[in-house]
């Protein structure tokens, strides 16, 4: 099986297998050619393979004539913000987000600081397939400039956006598990700017992931016990590029990553009325919350690229996914874990409430998720075949297939980042969600 995923916003694969220096260079050459030899930002997370991808990318960008501003280890949302601040033409983020340590990826960011949209991405892929790379002569090669003092620039902006006076006054004690990823040690600056006391967990930028870097309850046991014992106000888990978070309540209860979006929306939409963009796999909580404020929910395909693109097109005020990602347009068009943590802290401070209390105000759903290995060539036809399982239902096929019931829904789709079929079911009743999930999973297993 070939563990390589080429998509409009970049390429993702397994190092030592599909993700070779040459492949990375071909993609970086294509991106450098697409940008017409202009200025590019480069950042990476702490993955052990980071230096290999970083040097391959640097070399290819220089060869294509792009000047490279090297931000070194830099979380994706900060990189995205700096694209605009430094007036770059684009950026490459080297990180495989929530994937295991043997994975890595290049993600392409445009001059607006967002992931490439489908038109832009397709153009890069066309250049990649044609291998029509710009090859500059010696005097037109790009140069590398390091840019080490960007953290304050970003965190000053974040501090201005948030009600940081309220947050500082609350003097929160915060536990953050950076999974030794891209957020490691940068969370220190985050807490310092917001006057919080940090209790760091896995805060070394070594790239040795103590658990898989997906912010989910199953990885939250360390944060949960520390939060409870240290009597912290809240705990957070980050993925390796800090685009996603999950939350642990003050009592040590690990919240599903689904809670980040509706919690923040419930606070933010009151201040800023407007549409919320989410995908088909996200908990219905966001719909209930939006309805309270008379705000519209608009659906996009799964993934940062489509979700943010839709937010811009539909003039939404925020966007997010059930995987723990949140963007607020007024701040920046990017899934941003620092912003998400900051918003949670702000609402705790302003409302003088703890997480457990705020969670109780949200409608209660049960969401269950499963993924089945399936090569991309088969995935799409299998997803389509599943329709047979629901002969009498109305099926939405905007992104995979989605069937809705009064009490819940099921969404089945081919992953864009891994050779997997993802099945997600949600219901008011735990049993019903589980039953629907199992039914679909069994059916897919038979099809395979």
């Amino acid at each position: 099986m070939k563990l390589l995923k080429i998509g409009i916003s970049g390429v993702r694969g397994i190092v030592g297998d599909t993700l070779t220096p040459e492949l990375i260079m071909d993609f970086a050459s294509a991106f450098g050619t697409y940008l017409n030899s202009k200025k590019v930002l480069l950042g990476r997370d702490t993955r052990i393979s980071g230096p290999m991808l970083h040097s391959a990318t640097t070399s290819a960008l220089l060869a294509a004539g792009c000047d490279v501003i090297d931000l070194g280890i830099c979380p994706a949302p900060i990189l995205q913000y700096m694209v605009i601040r430094l007036k770059a033409e684009g950026a490459i983020s080297i990180s495989a987000g929530h994937n295991d340590g043997d994975w890595n990826a290049l993600t392409f960011i445009n001059q607006e600081g967002t992931y490439l949209n489908s038109y832009q991405g397709e153009e890069v892929l066309d250049i990649y397939h044609l291998e029509k790379f710009k090859k500059m002569s010696t005097d037109k090669l790009g140069k590398v400039t390091p840019h080490p003092d960007y953290l304050d620039t970003y965190f000053d902006k974040l501090t201005q956006f948030l009600d940081s006076r309220a947050i500082k006054k609350a003097a929160f004690k915060v536990v953050i598990d950076a999974c030794n990823g891209g957020g490691a040690q940068i969370v220190d600056a985050f807490c310092k700017h917001l006057g919080c006391e940090l209790i760091p967990v896995n805060n070394e930028p070594t790239g040795y992931f103590p658990h898989d870097p997906e912010p989910r309850p199953r990885n939250a046991s360390e944060v949960a016990s520390i939060t409870k014992i240290m009597k912290a106000d809240v705990g957070f888990l980050l993925n390796s590029d800090v685009s996603r978070i999950s939350i642990v309540a003050e009592d040590g209860e690990t919240l599903s990553e689904e809670y980040a979006l509706p919690l923040i929306a419930g606070y933010y939409l009151r201040k800023q009325h407007g549409a919320v963009i989410t995908n088909y796999s996200t908990s219905r909580m966001i719909e209930d919350v939006s309805q309270c404020y008379g705000c519209q929910v608009i659906k996009a395909k799964v993934g940062q690229s489509d979700c943010i693109q839709k937010m811009i097109e539909e003039d939404g005020v925020m966007a997010g996914e059930g995987s723990g990602s949140v963007a607020i347009k007024e701040f920046q068009p990017a899934f941003d874990g620092f912003l998400a943590m900051g918003m949670i802290l702000e609402m705790m401070a302003v409302k003088s409430k703890k997480i457990a209390g705020m969670v109780k105000e949200l409608p209660k759903y049960h969401i269950v998720k499963e993924k089945i290995y399936c090569p991309p060539v088969k995935a799409h036809s299998i997803v389509s075949d599943i329709k047979k399982l629901y002969p009498s239902h109305q099926i939405s096929s905007a992104d995979g297939i989605k069937i809705e019931w009064k009490d819940g829904w099921i969404h089945i789709r081919a992953s864009a980042t891994e050779p997997m079929i993802r099945i997600i079911a949600e219901s008011r009743s735990k049993e019903k969600a589980q039953e629907r999930l199992e039914k679909a999973t069994n059916f897919i297993s038979q099809l395979m």
């Binding site: 030592g16 050459s29 040097s55 090859k135 500059m136 140069k143």
Partner: protein
């Protein structure tokens, strides 16, 4: 004429034109092949001062990392210092990002063993085999290493030079030296080296920024500024390095260039005066060295062209000195490689110990005149010509076919060979006078075009 290809893969490594053949992808594949050949370990990566060095170096890093090697970034470094560093360090090998004296749009890679020597022809063949097969030993992410940084890449080399040379003898003379580094890698060490030898130094072109101040070949046409500066400043001597600082040309105290052939001749004469032992040079090197070996009654060994061949033979015969006529002096007591710093040190020591000026020292050595020319032609053309010439010149005193064809006559020789790096046929002639050499050259060129 067949166009010069923008890529050359040979026993001296790989060279190509940036923006054309020498892509990041190609460079990364070579680094992967080299790492796969040596096995996982520390590999030093150095560069000359070319503007494309950073692009190439990063490609090398990614290739080495992907096969589990640990690259050590040595930065801009004179090639002899890099070779010494590779030996003294616990590295299993080294890659030098350099195209030696090629024009500035070129760059390349040279591959070095853990002993600090260029891969010899059989090692190169093994390694190139891995490259051509394209099967590299990729390692999974958790076996990846990081990139280390070496901050004092010239330290071990400088130490070796100072341990070998008569530092006190040179220091006492307080020589005034004009040093032209051609904005090459030599600028990293030259000022410190000459300072350690107590010289008052006037530096020319000492910013290693890749903007080569003139063509990096240290042949007389490229020495104008240096000659003028020596004359105007009343310096004792002028030195000029090529871009990677393995070769040296000398300007005498009157501001006259000696011609690069004489760098080695001076060094050999001085060293043989101190130590007895064999001398190794290549087929195209001046006959003056044969005369010197004869005078000192030591064996002289001639090899095929190519530094690696000379070095191999120096190690085999435990020679005291050797080198190439292009200004490449090899003193195994420092390190078995061409080294412009060794050449400078020996020249200064020779001046100090004898109390003589360069022009006086030159007067005492046998005089020859060498003429180098070339005609377009592929290696096939060259060998066809050589076969025919061999039949015609049966009366040459002795004929060598070790590398192309060398015809030795009583008072001159002619060497015809295909270039290792370009589609040209090189013709070298050495005779007692310029007039004689020119006459023989036009005769041979006519003879060749007749074939």
């Amino acid at each position: 004429m067949k166009k010069r290809l923008p890529l050359k893969i040979s026993i001296s490594g790989v060279r190509g034109v940036v923006g054309d053949s020498l892509t990041p992808q190609l460079v990364a594949r070579f680094a992967q092949a080299f790492g796969s050949y040596l096995g996982r370990g520390k590999i030093l990566v150095g560069q000359d001062a070319r503007a494309s060095g950073n692009m190439i170096k990063n490609a090398v890093f990614s290739g080495l990392l992907s096969v589990g090697c640990q690259p050590v970034d040595v930065g801009i470094c004179p090639i002899p210092s890099f070779l010494v560093m590779t030996k003294e360090n616990s590295a299993i090998g080294g890659i030098a990002v350099t195209a030696s004296h090629n024009p500035k749009d070129w760059n390349g890679l040279k591959f070095i063993s853990g002993e600090g020597l260029y891969l010899n022809p059989s090692q190169t063949q093994e390694f190139l085999d891995i490259y051509h097969q394209g099967e590299f030993s990729l390692v999974p992410a958790d076996k990846h290493k990081n990139i280390l940084l070496e901050k004092n890449p010239t330290g071990p080399h400088l130490q070796k030079l100072l341990n070998t040379l008569d530092v006190e003898g040179i220091r006492r003379k307080k020589f005034k030296v004009v040093m032209d580094c051609c904005n090459g890698a030599g600028a990293i060490l030259a000022p410190r080296f000459l300072e350690a030898l107590g010289c008052e130094t006037i530096l020319l072109n000492f910013t290693p920024d890749g903007a080569l101040a003139h063509h990096p070949d240290p042949v007389p046409e490229n020495l104008n500024t240096l000659c003028r500066t020596v004359e105007e400043s009343g310096a004792d001597v002028g030195f000029i390095q090529d871009a990677d600082a393995d070769r040296l040309a000398i300007v005498d105290e009157k501001g006259a260039p000696l011609g690069e052939e004489l760098t080695l001749v001076l060094a050999v004469k001085y060293v043989l005066g101190k130590n007895s032992g064999s001398v190794v040079i290549n087929l195209s090197t001046s006959r003056a060295i044969e005369d010197l070996a004869h005078d000192f009654n030591v064996p002289l060994i001639r090899t095929k062209i190519g530094e690696v061949n000379v070095v191999d033979e120096i190690l085999n015969t435990k020679a005291v000195i050797g080198g190439e006529g292009n200004g490449g002096v090899i003193l195994p007591a420092v390190h078995p490689c061409r080294d412009s710093f060794t050449a400078m040190g020996l020249t200064l020591e020779y001046m100090a110990n004898t109390g003589k000026t360069i022009s006086q020292l030159i007067e005492q050595i046998p005089h020859y005149f060498m003429l180098k020319d070339q005609i377009p032609g592929s290696p096939e053309d060259a060998y066809r010509i050589i076969r025919k010439l061999k039949k015609k010149h049966t009366k040459a005193e002795n004929i060598s076919t070790l590398d192309g064809l060398k015809l030795n006559f009583v008072d001159y020789w002619v060497h015809i060979r295909p270039s290792n790096t370009e589609p040209i046929i090189r013709i070298l002639i050495e005779a007692r006078s310029q007039k004689k050499a020119e006459k023989i050259m036009s005769h041979f060129k006519n003879e060749i075009s007749g074939l």
